[in-house]
């Protein structure tokens, strides 16, 4: 039989391709991909369309005969009030459209149907439907104060130019002692999405490796597999196949997010976002290589899915702690905690990309972090391979690490 291979060196690829395709066709995978895409779309769309731009309000002002009601402004006074409302809105970076309302309803219907945000009456009351936006309350307050000051100054004989100089003095100039990153806000948003993706991907795919190992143990197919190939080949193939799926999914999600952001204009810095997507992919590969063999060992120690949670707790805590440190690093990427976390192998994959996107990591730190991570991965894999080999054929009770170590040759 000439076409039967005399070596088994490439057999891990056969394992990897099975693990890749079986999961790619899995319904759960499709669903989780769709959920991730939906969450990211929401984030991008909110940034693109929600909350952005100048806030604008609709304000009603009660106008009528002051003899009839204390609530209404005299038509002769209302022009000045409107002018002050709009000046106050400009000063606060908002836009207020004013509509005159009259007795007897003084705009109650418009308040109820939402076409007015609030109605200002001459007796210094501001009426809303169930609440009034804080910014609008502030603007109205400012406007009434300005109106009094202007009236007082005019009574003292000040000219309109003098009144204007008092009320509209230029805004205080804003400076920093260190150079300010004009893209800081956008970068933080990109880094935040990046961490979320990395955390979800590293943990999710790590758990997938562990459940894949348990699936083979609990169905007992592992004994057949290991009569054909070696434990390390099985472990390597499983990690490679699942990792490849993780990369493909990440690339797909990142491509989708970048395209959506470009179309909607949510990001004004496509180059930064593209760079961040590349970073997420690279750090996923580095981080997954580090964590995956640990997840594989965790899976090999138990025989049933129900027991998986127990062995995952320590790994889960480490990854979760790294995640929260990285979220903290968004605010302060140069804190000691953030720097240390970005260098240590077990947290670097989450903490370092944040600091790189925010421009806080020095090239030396990046080099050190990558060296430590790759180095410890290379140390970890043979250890994990041995533990996995020693544990994967033992069914029943949870295998102790020490026994797994001794059982392996």
């Amino acid at each position: 039989m000439s076409d039967i291979r005399a070596t088994d060196r490439g057999v891990w690829r056969v394992v990897a391709m099975r693990d890749f395709w079986v999961r790619l066709r899995d319904k759960g995978f499709m669903i989780s991909t769709c959920i991730t895409l939906a969450v990211i779309s929401l984030f991008i769309l909110v940034r693109a369309y929600g909350g952005a731009g100048t806030p604008s309000y609709e304000l009603g002002i009660a106008v009528g005969d002051p003899q009839a009601s204390a609530m209404v402004f005299a038509p002769t006074d209302v022009t000045a009030v409107i002018a002050q409302v709009q000046a106050a809105a400009r000063a606060r970076g908002a836009e207020v459209t004013v509509a005159e309302v009259s007795l007897p309803s003084v705009g109650q219907d418009q308040l109820r149907d939402g076409s007015l945000d609030a109605v200002l009456a001459a007796d210094d009351t501001l009426t809303g439907r169930s609440d009034i936006p804080a910014a609008l309350r502030q603007i109205v307050q400012d406007a009434l104060v300005r109106d009094r000051i202007a009236a007082a100054l005019e009574a003292e004989g000040a000219s309109p130019a003098e009144v204007d100089a008092v009320l509209n003095r230029p805004a205080v100039e804003f400076r920093t002692v260190e150079p300010r990153d004009p893209n800081r806000e956008t970068n933080s948003a990109v880094a935040f999405v990046g961490i979320l993706l990395l955390y979800g991907q590293l943990f999710g795919y790590g758990v997938w490796v562990a459940t894949g190992v348990i699936e083979e143990k609990s169905s007992r197919v592992v004994e057949i597999l290991l009569s054909a190939i070696r434990p390390r080949q099985l472990m390597a193939g499983k990690i490679a196949g699942i990792g490849l799926l993780g990369i493909v999914q990440l690339a797909f999600i990142a491509g989708f997010a970048l395209a959506l952001a470009a179309v909607t204009g949510a990001l004004d810095l496509p180059a930064t976002a593209l760079g961040a997507a590349g970073l997420v992919l690279v750090w996923f590969v580095l981080g997954f290589a580090f964590y995956a063999s640990v997840f594989a060992v965790a899976g090999s120690l138990v025989s049933r899915m129900e027991e998986l949670q127990n062995v995952l707790v320590p790994i889960n805590l480490v990854i979760l702690a790294s995640f929260f440190i990285s979220i903290g690093a968004l605010q302060d990427p140069d804190s000691t905690l953030a720097i240390v976390a970005s260098l240590l192998p077990f947290s670097a994959a989450l903490a370092m990309p944040v600091r790189i996107v925010l421009g806080a990591a020095t090239p030396l730190q990046v080099a050190l972090s990558v060296t430590l991570l790759v180095g410890s991965t290379l140390l970890l894999i043979p250890l994990a391979g041995r533990l996995y080999s020693g544990a994967v054929l033992r069914t029943g009770a949870r295998v102790k690490l020490r026994d797994a170590w001794r059982a392996a040759s």
Binding site: A6, T7, D8, V14, S219, R220, E223, I224, S227, I229
Partner: protein
């Protein structure tokens, strides 16, 4: 030839295998029999490299077996296992590829083996949706799909219906006779072992207590028994011959135990002298009887 030489293995304080040695020649079918817990599964797992021996070695074609050689073995473990959610054919192609077959060859072999095992209609179904009997057939297909150089099967016949038993027996015979594959399988169905196997290895408490062809076992172990039916003879007609004692009485005849050196023809002469001989045969002990005799000894 597949050889197990001096295998020893303990689990904690329990000795599972104690110097187990036997061989399976090319083209021979060897039945591996013994009581529950005697060490059959442990020996087979060691042969496949799934378990490491404390001492001893497994040799294939005269050389210590390595991973490359083992890859060409076919194995059916005691605890059956397949991917429950994978389709039958897909799974067989995958296993064939793990055993080193290229993709197209693996696909061809998977199609052949599902047909041989009579599960071709279920080839597109998930394993978990099959009946236990059909799962067993797929399990056997998994051991055979890569045209193995040697076959090690742990209880391959258990769970098969009579048709399945015949199919498998035929497959094993073809593997051995046409392809020269050494086949060893364990079983408690001793009549089956007697029918199919060229030789047996009998294990008890981790030791091989007997091995060889079934006739050799009979020759070395079994007592010589004759069943004789004589019409018109008085009770105890055989007492006249020294070295002949009554073993049992059945159906109007007697079963006589002959000591060593007693000539069967002398018994026949005496029987003819005592009356009309209606029946005179050697009692050939079945494998089951040999088994009981050896194991209780």
């Amino acid at each position: 030839m597949l050889e197990l030489i001096g295998l020893r293995r303990s689990f904690d304080d329990v000795v599972a295998l104690d110097d187990v040695t036997f061989s399976v020649p090319e083209g021979a079918i060897v039945g591996f029999v013994g009581p529950n817990g005697a060490g059959k599964t442990t020996a087979m797992r060691i042969a496949l490299g799934v378990l490491a021996p404390d001492a001893g070695e497994v040799r294939w074609q005269g050389k210590p077996v390595d991973a490359i050689a083992r890859r060409r073995f076919g194995y059916m473990p005691e605890e059956r296992g397949l991917y429950p959610k994978m389709k039958v054919r897909e799974q067989l192609v995958y296993l064939a590829r793990l055993h080193g077959l290229p993709a197209d060859h693996a696909a061809r072999r998977a199609d052949e083996i599902v047909e041989t095992m009579g599960v071709q209609e279920r080839a597109g179904d998930r394993v978990e949706s099959l009946s236990l009997g059909n799962q067993q057939r797929v399990q056997l297909a998994a051991a055979l799909v890569h045209e193995p150089d040697a076959l090690v099967l742990d209880e391959p016949f258990s769970g098969l219906d009579p048709v399945g038993v015949d199919v498998l027996a035929g497959v094993l015979r073809r593997q051995a006779q046409n392809h020269g594959v050494p086949v060893v399988f364990s079983s408690h169905q001793l009549d089956l072992v007697e029918r199919i196997c060229d030789a047996v290895a009998l294990i008890d408490h981790g030791r091989i207590v007997a091995s060889g062809t079934i006739d050799e076992l009979r020759g070395s172990r079994a007592r010589r028994l004759l069943r004789v039916e004589v019409s018109g003879a008085v009770d105890g007609w055989y007492d006249a011959l020294p070295g002949v004692t009554l073993e049992s009485e059945a159906n109007g005849g007697v079963v006589l135990l002959l000591e060593e050196g007693v000539d069967e023809q002398r018994v026949l002469d005496l029987a003819r002298a005592s009356g009309d001989v209606l029946h005179f045969t050697r009692v050939r002990p079945s494998l089951a009887e040999l088994f009981r005799e050896v194991v209780s000894a």
